[in-house]
Amino acid sequence: MKFTLSWLKDHLDTDASLEAILDGLTVIGLEVEGVEDRAAPLAPFRIARVVTAEQHPDADRLRVLTVDAGAGAVVQVVCGAPNARAGLVGVFAAPGTHIPGTGVDLAIGTIRGVESRGMMLSEREMGLSDAHEGIVDLPDDAPVGTPYVEWAKLDDPVIEIGVTPNRADCLGVRGVARDLAAAGLGALKPLYDDKVPAAHDGNLPPAVDLETADPAYCPAFALRLIEGVKNGPSPEWMKRRLTAIGLRPINRLVDVTNYLTYDLNRPLHVFDADKVSGALTVRQAAEGETFEALDGRTYTLDPSMVVIADANGVESLAGVMGGEASGSSEATTRVLVESALWDPINIARTGRTLGINSDARHRFERGVDPAFAEPGLEIATRLILELCGGTPGPTVTVGQVPDATRVIAFPPTEIKRLSGLDVTEDAAAETLAALGFTVDRSATPWQVTTPSWRADVEGKADLVEEVVRIVGIDDVAPTPLPRLAPVAPKVLTTLQSRVATARRALAARGMVEAVTWSFVSKPDAEAFGGGGAALALANPIAEALSDMRPSLLPGLVRAVTRNVNRGHADLALFEVGQVFAGDEPEDQTTSAAGVRQGRNRPAGVGRHWSHAGAAADVFDAKADILAALAAIGGPADRVEVTRDAPSHYHPGRSGTLRLGPKVLGHFGELHPALLAEMDAPERLVGFELTLEAVPEPRRKATKKPALSASDLMPVRRDFAFIVTEATDARALVKAAKGSRKDLITDVTVFDVYRGQGVPEGHKSVAIEVTLQPVDRTLTDEDIETVSQALVDAVAKATGATLRG
């Protein structure tokens, strides 16, 4: 919402400085978004008369002027403008001034041997417009020596405020003035809205029929005919104000409607009465009905939209935009002025559907003052008569202007209760009264009647806001929030703790955390187990961001690929975030996933003198997922690993982590065909762990069981078994461990060998077994017995034979 300072002062009698007004606006909730002081850059330029104009001796297109800028002596100026002539009154820039349109600091110069001590300016050079055909040519009576901005009345700052959707009343300058007056920044001037009597009763407007299915679409419609008007360009003062706020002056009749829209928040429409045929009907549009609007575009309407139609068809899109056919022109002599009320929601929907953002829509959808529809029409009539002459007919209103006031029971103690502000009852009542509320303090609680223009004020809390807003939020003292408990309760849920811990654990393994979009492309969603219709956005912002992600991996693979394409070969990225299996809250789970590319392994990144520099492999991914699982308190030692995984993994180099029937996650090399499809690097390993699938600890173990540490030396023995390739190492280890649970405390695989001495299709798996004696040292015989039991158990479970 824009207005100028002088415009504001039409409504506000104030001595306050511009600064005080700007501060006041922001403090009361009308945030100042900008102040444009058009005068400041033009302040040095004065009105000057060209006394003589001679041809430049050495340049055909230049003239040598002598200029009287009111400073006594004339100055010599070399000028190239075609319209430079003796007697012309224009705008003079003295040496040393800054020319806003060109950004140049003017100096005394010599042009083709002739000294030039200043410049006559074009509009473009002053930054006022793009006009540069010649220098500014002012009326002869413009006072020489006067600052140009003063004469042109440009010394009127343009103020732009942000108006929140609840404050429709401040979409008019008068509403802003009322708020400032209430805040002590002046007095609200009275508004002259007396009725303009009809010249005679003969010139009635056409009949208006309200035919909408829902009467709320148009509660009231006021119309007036004015005959004998003379249209034409608006006077300078009106053009100046409209231009200042960014509107294009068109003609007096149209400008009056625009002016009153901003001045009093009363959108109006004018029809050329001679172009209206028969009665007017306010009705819903027919399906497919078309309408050529004042913006020159043709819109196709539907029955949800309300129109004003005559015998020729749709003449206006109600409350949004008038029609081209019945618009006013310079030739208009009989004008119909409309002031109506429309349903905010219907207007909003129509504007949104058709993509029309007009000043009228903006105001009607936020809600105008219904009680002002008729006074607004009187004011419009008076202004039209003033500018265009003519004879007004009577105002005809159909429908019923609704009573928009509301009575709120308001105990003044609410102010302190909700805001903490200490304010006297007198001050609170005065503040409300200044804003237009009627306060009945004789009742308990107070009965406060809202003004018709404040539909946003619905209850006690709104009245508290009004008082605090005007009295000053700065008077509310910060008050420490009392503690609920001496020691804070458990702040994070188990899941939230796990998220934070998983991040730190994965980063501590050298991975870099990424935050990627929650949406991926449909092909990516499909490739990673998603892509269903329920999770495809109805209005995606881009094709690559169309579906809610089923997995974190596609985003990470894309991210790795972008980095590789930038020349970063060895990468490890992870993300901990939400993935979606459906649109219900329980379908959203939290995944911790990571991807490694190239020589990026937990020990370090890149080629290094200390090792062979192998690329990250499936076991790095397995280590990552198990480390993350262990870090969040999961049963990393009990988890089962099976040789299966979703189809986005390499079938021979991937696995699934299970706990009983529950799947905790997957790891492995990603499927090479999929990577090729995604233009990703050839080999990537990754993992994904579902944090919710990891069981919560049954209860908090604040006390640990006593440590049992034997004084007897443990004994270690090595065994090598030959098994088929298909045999799981894990099964072998499990069988070995289970063969003597009382003595065997650990079994680790320390070598896997294929080649000489091992039959084709087989492998040799070497294990180290740790035996912990319980009550006495083990004899050779004891160890022999245990070894035999172990070999038998492994053979039985896996078909293994001891390697000779």
Binding site: T26, V27, P165, R167, V468, V476, P480, L481, S518, I541
Partner: protein, 368 residues
């Protein structure tokens, strides 16, 4: 009683000289051991001489005994000394052989290479601060219902405030409703009030979505919501909580704040909150200067919202606020461009990211 050393017979002197020469010549432990065995072993040259003592007359023994014992002791000492010398030489050789070039760079691995994204770091900072103020952390799903994202938050159907949210929608469901991606974290307020009786003190950090994309807007961003509901909480408490938060988060002594009346459908009164700042060519410095920077929106929870959650607004009251996590991260840590947060460029992450062990705590100073 001092006894003058018995002079050795010539043959013994020659033997001693031979053995000493052999000891000196022994180049390693094994050679020295051979010399020892040859001299002092069971059949060693000295041992053989010792055996002759038994056949001697007492007088002869009186002189030869001490002579031979002295000889044996001296040779033993010489061998021990030689052994020490050899060990020292061997150690010196080993140390020389084991020398490496310690100027070579090792690999530091995980805790040095890994990075935490600034958004996660800032979320951890928020948790540390609000945990200290007695808040717990609440969460809600990204895919929300219209009811929880708008209606229960007092956004009337068709109200322009809904339009301003640029909402992403999911397809229409069988029942004619459609889910949406939450446009703010405020639905978590509703979920919390529906689930939990006051007193309530929560913050709710999370992802939010609006279909908007330009220099300063991304279709996905992060917000944190705060909610306090009890029977007393008023605007004064709101001012205190937000001031304390800003001081702690931005790590400044003074966080002068300006509360500007504003409008949000779900709060009444509503305030936008600015923090004092100084703008210069180097960027924005917070907590000082004479300019203001908007950082969050806040207000008293609207009576309709309380009612929608089954709370009587004449009994319960409280306040809520919401702010952009990405935005306060940019302000605190100086990233110039929001879009880079989601591009996963390892150069950016390496530069703006945090070490895995830099876990924020108030005890340790939030950001070291």
């Amino acid at each position: 009683m001092d006894v003058a050393p018995t002079p050795l017979p010539d043959d013994l002197a020659a033997l001693e000289a031979d053995i000493n020469a052999a000891v000196d010549a022994a180049g390693d432990e094994a050679a020295l051991e051979a010399v020892r065995v040859a001299a002092l072993g069971k059949k060693g040259s000295v041992s053989e001489k010792m055996k002759t003592l038994g056949r001697m007359s007492p007088d002869e023994r009186k002189t030869m005994g001490p002579a031979l014992n002295g000889l044996k002791a001296r040779i033993g000492d010489a061998i021990a000394a030689r052994r020490e010398t050899l060990a020292a030489e061997a150690l010196t050789r080993r140390l020389a052989a084991e020398t490496v070039d310690v100027t070579l760079e090792p690999q530091l691995g995980g805790t040095v290479d890994g990075r935490i994204h600034p958004i996660s770091q800032v979320m951890d900072e928020l948790v540390a601060i609000f945990a200290d103020l007695g808040f717990t952390i609440a969460e809600g799903p990204d895919i929300e219902t219209d009811d929880l994202n708008f209606t229960k938050l007092n956004f009337p159907e068709g109200h322009p405030a809904r339009d301003m949210h640029d909402t992403f929608f999911l397809p229409e469901r069988a029942d004619g409703t459609r889910r949406l991606l939450r446009t703010h974290t405020s639905p978590v307020q509703i979920r919390t009030m529906l689930r939990q009786k006051p007193p309530i003190r929560i913050i709710a950090p999370g992802r939010t979505y609006r279909c908007d994309s330009d220099q300063t807007h991304t279709p996905m961003f992060h917000q944190v919501e705060g909610l306090v509901i009890d029977e007393q909480a008023h605007v004064g408490h709101l001012k205190w909580v937000l001031t304390e938060f800003c001081k702690a988060f931005f790590e400044v002594e003074d966080a002068a704040m300006r509360f500007r009346p504003s409008f949000f459908p779900f709060t009444e009164p509503s305030y936008e909150v600015d923090i004092r700042c100084r703008r210069s060519a180097d960027g924005i410095e917070l907590g000082t200067g004479d300019d203001w920077l908007e950082i969050l929106g806040s207000g008293m929870v609207h009576p309709n919202v309380l009612r929608n959650c089954g709370l009587d607004p004449d009994v319960y009251q409280g306040f809520a606020w919401g702010m952009g996590i990405d935005r306060i991260a940019m302000l605190k840590y100086g990233m110039p461009d929001l879009r880079a947060f989601f591009e996963a460029d390892v150069r950016w992450l390496g530069h703006y990211g945090f070490g895995p062990l830099d876990r924020p705590s108030l005890a340790g100073g939030l950001s070291r």
